[in-house]
């Protein structure tokens, strides 16, 4: 009935005009919310990059995508981000195929953090973060939003600096602030989604933890978060679900304790490990086996 009334309109009725107060979304079956990927296949230059992929990212959850280099994680993410077109299969967001959405409406609820963004113009960190507000036409509230997002990403003190002069980790956090500013208005009543490609790759341990905690807060606000990670322990500690991708196919998907088992890790990454349970958080903790102790170089004692 709802879909009959609204036709092909890509937004819930409450979204039609930014001046209308959002009313609670009608109750929907769980399968109609969040991101659904069904039987996805991506081929490029005769190579199959992603094959038969199924994925569900529910609102309010952090979903980690892990796997070896070249497993197709970024390709899968770029399909969800609308950059790459799939050869087969379907991606839906809030129950609607991605193609049915108007690009601007999608941009207001879907933030994407690429692995790297090259900037050739002298933009300040503030100006980069402010880019996240481009899909919105809300100049009166952009300043406080950008300010808060820079603060949450821990880069407010850098806002006047030239983006190109920042370190890799600082740039990553500024980009994270941009993405958060982009989906700022999303919440429990306005579904939002974050697609993050290795957001922790350039961060030190403290900022890795801060970022993952940030993602938990965002998930608690009702956003669906898909994050590509390499650190299995970060995924285990912060993600609700983990999907392991291997050679373009999904090797396993489920709760961390079900997925992160020595046999799977051994098969996918080819490394030995012991999986323990963290006493404090009850999360699985992957301890890699490094083989032999470090060989010590034996120097002859000088006379």
């Amino acid at each position: 009935m709802n879909s009959l009334l609204h036709g092909r309109w890509p937004l819930p009725a409450a979204w039609r005009s930014p001046t209308v107060r959002p009313s609670p979304m009608p109750a929907q079956a769980p399968s109609d919310t969040g991101i659904q990927v069904r039987d996805l296949r991506v081929e490029r230059q005769g190579r199959t990059l992603v094959d038969r992929a199924h994925l569900d990212v529910a609102p309010g959850t952090v979903h980690a995508l892990v796997g070896p280099n070249g497993a197709g994680k970024s390709t899968l993410l770029s399909v969800l981000a609308g950059e790459t077109r799939q050869n087969h299969g379907q991606v839906t967001w809030s129950g609607r195929p991605l193609d049915d959405w108007c690009p601007n409406a999608l941009a207001r609820c879907r933030g994407v953090l690429p692995q790297e963004a090259v900037v050739t113009f002298p933009l300040t960190a503030w100006e980069v973060a402010e880019m996240g507000r481009l899909p919105h036409r809300t100049p009166e509230r952009d300043t406080p939003i950008v300010h808060e997002c820079l603060e949450r990403a821990g880069v407010l003190h850098l806002s006047g600096r030239d983006y190109r002069s920042l370190s890799g980790g600082e740039r990553q956090r500024v980009q994270m602030a941009r993405v958060m500013a982009q989906v700022y208005e999303t919440g429990p009543q306005r579904p939002g989604v974050l697609l993050l490609d290795e957001p922790t790759s350039a961060l030190d341990v403290r900022h890795q933890l801060r970022l993952m905690e940030l993602l938990r807060t965002d998930a608690a606000r009702g956003r669906a978060i898909l994050v590509v990670l390499h650190d299995l322990n970060l995924a285990a500690a912060f993600a609700d679900r983990i999907t392991i991708l291997e050679g373009g196919r999904i090797a396993d998907s489920g709760a961390p304790r079900d997925v992160l088992v020595p046999a799977t890790i051994r098969r996918v990454w080819g490394v030995d490990c012991v999986v323990e349970t963290d006493k404090h958080t009850q999360c699985p903790w992957v301890r890699l086996r490094y083989g032999t102790p470090k060989p010590q170089c034996e120097l002859e004692a000088s006379p």
Binding site: P24, S78, A81, G82, E83, P103, N104, A105, L106, A107, R108, R110, G111, V112, P114, A117, V118, V119, T120, F121, P122, L123, T124, A125, W126, E127, V128, E130, M131, G132, L134, P135, R141, T143, P144, I145, V146, H147, E148, S159, G160, R161, R164, R178, Q182, Y184, E185, G187, R221
Partner: protein
Amino acid sequence: MSAVAPEWVRASPTVKPEGSRSARARLVTLSLIPAVILAAMLGLTTGAVAMTPWDVLRILTGQLDDPFLHEVIFNLRLPRVLVAITVGAALAMSGVALQGLFRNPLADPGLIGVSAGAALGAVAVIVLGTTVLAPLVLPLGVLALPLAAFAGGLATTWLVYRLASRGGHTSVATLLLGGIAINAIAGAATGMLVYMADDQQLRTLTFWNMGSLAHAGWALWAVSAGFVVLALAALPFIARALNGLMLGESVATHLGFPVHRIKTLVVITAALAVGASVAIAGIIGFVGLVVPHLLRLTIGPDHRYLLPASALGGALLLLLADALARVIVSPAELPIGLLTALLGGPFFLWLLMRQQGRLGS
């Protein structure tokens, strides 16, 4: 759940946006308007016949009825000033648009061959317009020259863009090398046409190849100004998209911009503006490079301000350069293209030295 404040209310509305330059950008853009008006007045008063601004104002409003001064203002100086404003605004804005498209501050309509392509189209009309191309040129009348320049500019912009862009990535080296090749090809073809030209055409061409604001009549100006206004009208629509493009094509896509359509629009508008300015004033280099660069240093690269500010800045620069060109070797005048090259060339070298190591490819 009943009275939940919008989430953004939590953020303090009184924060001072450090690192945001929009307040300064607005101020600079607005202050350029009186500067352009003053420079236009300077252009109207300088020259062989001395006039005070007061005289000029009285002639323009019809209060001073001196046929000679009237002639000087309306047939000599006012057209020049209007052409300078049109051409300066067109070149600077297309410079900004192309730099945004290529995501490189070194893209200039002259450097990457767009001006040369437009010039080739225009020269073809001047030389072959009465013979080979007559069936095409004659029915178009005064439109033929700007249209030919537009077509030449469009073809080269498209070619350079296809050459330098592969899969969303623009190679600066390919861009500049492609520009060199296109400049050479278009230059050679133009040279062939010049070789075929008769004496009368030759005089037109030489003067025009160096860039000049002197030979424009009212009709040609009106047509070209129409072209430029068309291009200027499109640019504000793409300003936000050009901002998104600064973070790369994929990020611009994530921000909801129709990147492919925007790119086509930028190529067409830049070619329109460059074609129109080449048609009335010949090749005037470096305006599209120097003006946006200087403005980016002061107001930052936000295209919502950079585009209008560059239009004003380009008009200002050409008005001042034209006044200078008429004063230096008075009562004769220097071709303005020579003057901008003399000023812009060293500036470009300085830019290269400053950016060395940051350039990449």
